[in-house]
Amino acid sequence: MLKILFLIVLAYNIEVFINPIFNNVNIIIPFSFLTYSYFAYKDKNGFTASSSFSIGLLMDLVSGSYIGLNGLIYCMTTYIINSYKYVFRLFSYLQISIFFGIIASTYVALTHLFLNINNFSYLTLLITLIGNTIFSFLISIARVYKPIIFKRRGL
């Protein structure tokens, strides 16, 4: 669990550096949230409600947003991911990428409702949806087509 926490916080720090660049083209990629979603999806038994709530609270503290905002969204996301745990096996990579694109843009929409209501933009949400779907798809493709050398080493 500590490793997951470390990676999520690391992803948040990357997000802080990269998002100002992406903001110029109205794309917001919530790396920390996507990292959390990936681990929630990858975990064999799925995260419990209490662990998702705790990670959410930690992220609220780290990101300086309102306490409870990430906790709420992480809890709901975990429930959705856990509910579809076995259904995902029937999905293609593209379908899973679209799913992650949708939940990432929902996350952006919910956080912007609290943090950026004055400049709430549906255009940003639409571009974010497309951007996150493409990003998730590229990540999944990269995993499939990673160089054989990595596969041999079991990385």
Binding site: E15, V16, N19, P20, N23, I28, K44, N45, G46, F47, T48, A49, S50, S52, F53, G56, L61, G64, Y66, I67, G68, L69, G71, L72, C75, M76, T78, Y79, N82, S83, Y84, K85, Y86, H112, F114, L115, N116, I117, N118, N119
Partner: protein, 277 residues
Amino acid sequence: MANYAPNTSVFSYVFFVLLSSFLLYLDFTNETFSKPKNTYKTSVLSLNYFFKNYILEPLVQFPELLNSKKNLIKQNKDLRLQVEKEYISKFVLSKNNDFFLNESKLNTLVDKENSLNKVVISKLIKFDTNNYFCCSNHKLFIKPISDSVTEPLQSAIINSQGLIGQIVYDMNGIYEVMLLTDTRHSTPVFSENFYCNAKGSGKPGIITCIYSELIWDEQFEIGQKFYSSGLGGVFPKNILIGNVLNIKNISASEKEVVIKLEVNPITENLFGIVVSP
């Protein structure tokens, strides 16, 4: 037999969702958790500052020390710092007639004892660029280099281009600065005979003034200059804030003047805290 999805007990999720919503409500409406959040921020910033100044910098400078260039580098740094300090301290003078409405006001301000020249130079500790470009809360954190400020709260902050914001929190010597563009911030400005409180828009470099045409029927021009009015006593008077970028119709009688700020807070690492007289 069908497999049930793991960890999908609705009760626990409903409980934690309600708990999160409750915490969110408390923090959003009353800022109940501002103290622990500030404590966390202070400790992270202090650790960062300590690591940068006492661990990373000596390590980076170590090879230079070996090459006996230490003195030269120090001298170079001191000189650069001095130049930047001068820029900030004399930023009033660095602008010509354009900066103030007329020359006499400039001279009065420079001659006065309690002038803008009295600034405490501070170093940037952290700029929340993510929030600056994406969201409504625009803030940065600074720490005075040498002098300390006795009453830092609400002091105006400048860089060499002009006003950038005001201090809202004192976190044990590290000050949180709310920028003019933060949506919670309003700056008293004027242009000719028109006075208003310009609200931060949440967009980088933009503040806005809303007025009723029933009260003010004169037209603004694109590029028209706005200055600080000094009302409220936080910001000094007659400092150029920005130019009119656009004028929008909000309703049948209300209009919004969009002002593009003269100052860009992300270009410099040194700031000045204007010490209140």
